[in-house]
């Protein structure tokens, strides 16, 4: 299965706009799985309208100490790099919000006095869109700090499909996975991009767009993922993004002009190819170029 990640660096450049339209045209040619990986601000469902039938709590496996078995030796506190577990005198304290769920304390307790339970930090919702796209999103609970564990679970998600083992049936049909990444350029973006076959970087032709495009292009480069660029709101700003892409050999695969009717349609919750069907061909060509480039 080919995996395409849509990322941008700067927020609000049109990641979700591109990802949802790409998914819609892809669904016309084969099986598509869509993962909304922006767990802090997931928006793709607002455009693709999946029926979200399944909801699964996810989070971090935090330690619980059996006071009967504990000898207060302090090994757990010693091995914990995040100071999520403290041993003082004859007391053990666990701070769930510092825990990364790494399991180190569990592994290294000499008395095997530690078990783990799930501290829920979010939910994975999944279902199917009217076009038949298998859809899943991670939603982080308000007040939580760590989105990456939710993302890891989300990337493992497999749609339930009848009798055939899903991975086989998807692979057989030349299936696609489309991941809508969060903005920024730190660990959640890396986790979203890890393992993808192609990174489609959506930017706008402004100094802010370019500055942040450079950050996310560096991540794709470090991860060894081939990348291409979509310039959204083409016509505003300046030509610096195009110049930079040419210098770096990054192909510009699609330009979407600044048009008020597009902005208005997307604001109201329509996808780009639904609102302006002229773009259907552009997205089909975009998809063909990505698929051809990655699987020559």
């Amino acid at each position: 299965m080919m995996q395409i990640v849509i990322a941008s660096g700067k927020g609000g450049t049109g990641k979700t706009t591109v990802a949802t339209s790409l998914a819609q045209v892809a669904a016309e040619r084969g099986a598509v799985r869509f993962l909304d990986c922006d767990v802090e601000a997931p928006n793709a469902a607002l455009f693709l309208h999946p029926v979200l039938e399944t909801h699964r709590d996810v989070g971090i496996r935090v330690p619980r100490v059996d006071a009967q078995a504990c000898t207060y030796c302090g090994k757990c506190a010693e091995v914990c790099q995040f100071h999520a577990i403290a041993v003082v005198g004859k007391k053990v304290l666990v701070f769930d919000d510092l825990c990364h769920g790494c399991g180190s304390c569990t592994w290294h307790c000499p008395e095997q006095a530690i078990s783990e339970h799930l501290a829920v930090t979010g939910v994975i919702d999944s279902g199917t869109t009217p076009e038949g796209i298998a859809f899943a999103q991670g939603v982080m609970n308000v007040g939580q700090t760590m989105g990456v564990p939710i993302l890891r679970e989300l990337k493992q998600w497999t749609p339930a499909t009848g009798d055939a083992p899903p991975s086989t049936s998807l692979r057989a049909s030349g299936a696609l996975e489309i991941r809508d990444a969060p903005p920024g350029a730190s660990c959640p973006v890396v986790e979203t991009m890890r393992g993808a076959d192609f990174a489609l970087l959506v930017t706008e032709p402004t100094p802010f767009g370019l500055h942040d495009l450079k950050q996310v292009a560096a991540i794709a480069h470090d991860l060894g993922i081939p990348a291409g660029v979509v310039i959204n709101r083409d016509g505003i700003g300046d030509a610096a993004v195009g110049t930079w892409c040419a210098d770096r050999g990054l192909p510009i695969l699609l330009r979407i002009p600044m048009e008020r009717r597009i902005a208005e349609a997307i604001a109201s919750g329509q996808t780009l190819v639904d609102a302006v069907p002229d773009y259907r061909v552009g997205f089909q060509e975009l998809l063909e170029r990505i698929v051809a480039g990655v699987n020559p």
């Binding site: 100071h83 041993v87 003082v88 005198g89 007391k91 304290l93 510092l98 760590m146």
Partner: protein, 123 residues
């Protein structure tokens, strides 16, 4: 009583450091005899959970009470679990560890009766 005072420096005459988890060091002083030692705070460079780490550190030093300018919720809970008393000294006055000791002996320090701030986020 063994008292741990958060300071920024190497001796009891170094300036008082109002931070607890991110204090540069702790001056461990016997309030009866005045004998003191200084211990670098291992939590200074922690990515997160500095308060928890510093609290465990002063507990291991054998402190029965600490003096600092503020305690986050996790430091407060960890110190309480170790039955370590938590005294507050205002951080906006320039004074040394020795001044803090004098204030403690004179009974001028108040005990923190709860978390003084919401904690910081660094993860």
């Amino acid at each position: 009583m063994k008292l741990a005072i958060s300071i920024a420096g190497q001796t009891i005459d170094s300036p008082f450091d109002a931070r607890f988890g991110r204090a540069e060091s702790f001056c461990l002083v016997d309030s009866d005899t005045g004998a003191w030692t200084v211990h670098a705070n291992p939590a200074l460079s922690a990515s997160g959970g500095a308060g928890v780490q510093a609290a465990q550190f002063v507990a291991k030093l054998g402190a029965q009470a600490v003096v600092s300018g503020a305690y986050g919720p996790k430091a407060y809970d960890t110190l309480s679990a170790g039955n370590i008393q938590r005294f507050l000294a205002p951080g906006n006055e320039a004074r040394s560890g020795a001044d803090i000791l004098a204030a403690f002996r004179a009974g001028q320090l108040t005990e923190a009766d709860g978390t003084t701030h919401g904690g910081h986020h660094g993860g």
